[in-house]
Symmetry: C2
Subunit: 350 residues, 2 copies
């Protein structure tokens, strides 16, 4: 697959999964390091080059879930291509801004991505649409085992896998879900519901990770600690908590419907009207409108849209938009092209 | 024609006149009083009753432009029916709130309405769609002559027709146009353009007459003085000034199109989207949206709508809405029914 083709396509996790509303996607990540090499932040150029080569050489022979990897060294990616990978959650902003001798290996479906020389030598990541913890973990472990059969990972019996940051020591596992909570936001319950999570070992972030605002009422919830917990415990805990939050969101939607049904209909239909007809849409505005529209569809108020919420969110973000248009989008042009893109999806014949 | 049928129908002036954008309607009014009777404000009950009878008796035999009159005494009209007549500009708010022994005679098309015992014994009014001064004046004069053939009007050779308020003495003529100036409002030129008019003998008012705000960017422009001016002079003057203002509006639209074309398209298309889909529309909001939509249609940006701007403005106002629905519209219900009405017109199949 050509690099452009690989970058421009929708990632598997962006698919429209109608049977799991509220939970948009599931991510499982394993942190791994090579035995006998310093962690990336103290590795230096020579060591970095060596580690990158050692790891990237293995991708050619690795097949997971029937798919091969393409390895993209950061050096061959221009800033826009890096940005797209961030917008699709395939690499971290840190890797995008990062040093030489780092890169990412992607399967064609983007289900599995492996970052090389980010905070750890390897960050194996599985991204799936919907609420899909077991399958995601199984695929991450399959990838881990296949990599480990060719590489010697730093591991101590007492601690587990060694990692650059102590919070990842142990299983090196982080599980996160992306969850869409518009009704909890509208009813001012979201602080209370999500605030409680930080006291019980979970982290809450916005759509684009640490420090990012909760654009479009999308939140990422993940486990904080790995040491001393089994993979199964971590998974079961996150599964339970996510289920409870989704239930609260679902309840808040039913309450809104009962108490202010017409106002809710008005709100989501106005969002639909603007998406269908606007000629200029800023990035912030479109995310808010898409969030309302998605809730309207899930509640049966609005007709379905062909493209999924996650696909629309990502594809209307600046990098993806510019990459498809293939020229710089200054001033109003990004808002103009974003509105064009959205109108195309909403099949407006204006 | 039944009263309900007469009240609920669109008045002739509310028709969609595509060939005269900007100027929505033309109104010509003649103030007349009966010789030998006090002006209405000092007339008293006995005299009022007598004047009303004398005038209303003549309507049965009067035909103007092939149409007969129906006389509605204020006493037979409930508050909602009075309100509708005000919303359709067929009677003044003063008459609606007024005393016994007053009323209005209407032709079936509502082109001609004659108020009885308002400020003067008779207020003959002609309301036509578009920019239609000569025809309106001719019809007012035809009505005046037919009434005068049966009634003795107070007239002095030196002054002309005598009226309760000195500003109307002379021809008793007031000509006004309703003019839609969204581009002058958007470009902040409207104060300058209309402000100048008050220094040259013209009055500027909002959509519903004296003291009313310029809802929907609609203004009424009329002559102030009648004494010492011929009907033809008054007409020619207002015709020239109206033409100039319409030209300024037209120029402002072209400038907007050249300078901020996409933003303009965005604005009017968003208005269309909201009109098509909203479930709740307040009276103030709908007037603003209809104004933007109308400009978009006139500029060829938006597809045409079946109903005209004036018809939509009037029919979405509270009284007309409630009269059609035929039950009290409390709380959100008026906004709900207004949105239903508008969606019906915009043919949305939601």
């Amino acid at each position: 697959m050509e690099n452009k083709e690989l970058l421009v396509k929708d990632s598997c996790w962006m698919q429209n999964i109608q049977d799991t509303p509220i939970v948009l996607s599931t991510r499982v990540r394993l942190a791994r390091n090579l035995a006998g090499a310093s962690f990336p932040h103290i590795l230096g150029a020579e060591g970095g080059k060596e580690v990158e080569k050692k790891i990237s050489d293995t991708f050619g022979e690795t097949v997971v879930s029937g798919e091969q990897f393409t390895y993209l060294s950061l050096g061959v990616l221009n800033p826009l291509e890096r940005r797209i990978l961030v917008e699709k959650h395939l690499i971290s902003p840190d890797l995008a801004n990062g040093k030489e001798f780092s890169g990412v290996a992607l399967t064609d479906s983007h289900k599995v991505s492996v970052m090389v020389n980010e905070e750890d030598h390897l960050r194996i990541q599985v991204l799936m649409p919907g609420f899909n913890l077991s399958e995601s973990l199984a695929l991450a472990k399959e990838t881990d085992e296949k990599m480990e059969s060719k590489l010697d990972f730093a591991f101590k019996e007492k601690f587990g896998y060694l990692t650059a940051c102590p919070t990842n020591v142990g299983t090196g596992l982080r599980i996160s879900v992306m969850i869409h909570l518009p009704a909890l936001v509208m009813t001012n319950q979201v602080q209370q519901v999500l605030g409680a999570l930080t006291h019980i070992g979970l982290a809450v972030r916005g759509l684009y990770g640490e420090g990012s605002r909760a654009l479009g009422n999308v939140f990422q919830i993940s486990n904080q600690v790995t040491l001393g917990k089994s993979e199964e415990d971590t998974l079961a805990y996150l599964e339970t908590m996510t289920g409870q939050i989704a239930e609260r969101e679902s309840q808040a939607r039913q309450d809104l419907w009962k108490e202010v049904g017409v106002m809710l209909q008005d709100k989501v239909w106005r969002a639909r009207g603007t998406l269908e007809h606007a000629r200029l849409l800023s990035g912030d505005e479109v995310i808010g409108l898409l969030s309302e529209d998605r809730m309207g569809v899930e509640m049966g108020i609005l007709p379905k849209v062909q493209a999924g919420f996650a696909s629309l969110l990502v594809n209307s973000s600046y990098g993806c938009l510019q990459y498809r248009i293939d020229r710089p989008l200054d001033g109003n042009y990004a808002d103009f092209e974003r509105a064009n893109y959205i109108r195309g999806v909403y099949h407006t014949k204006d």
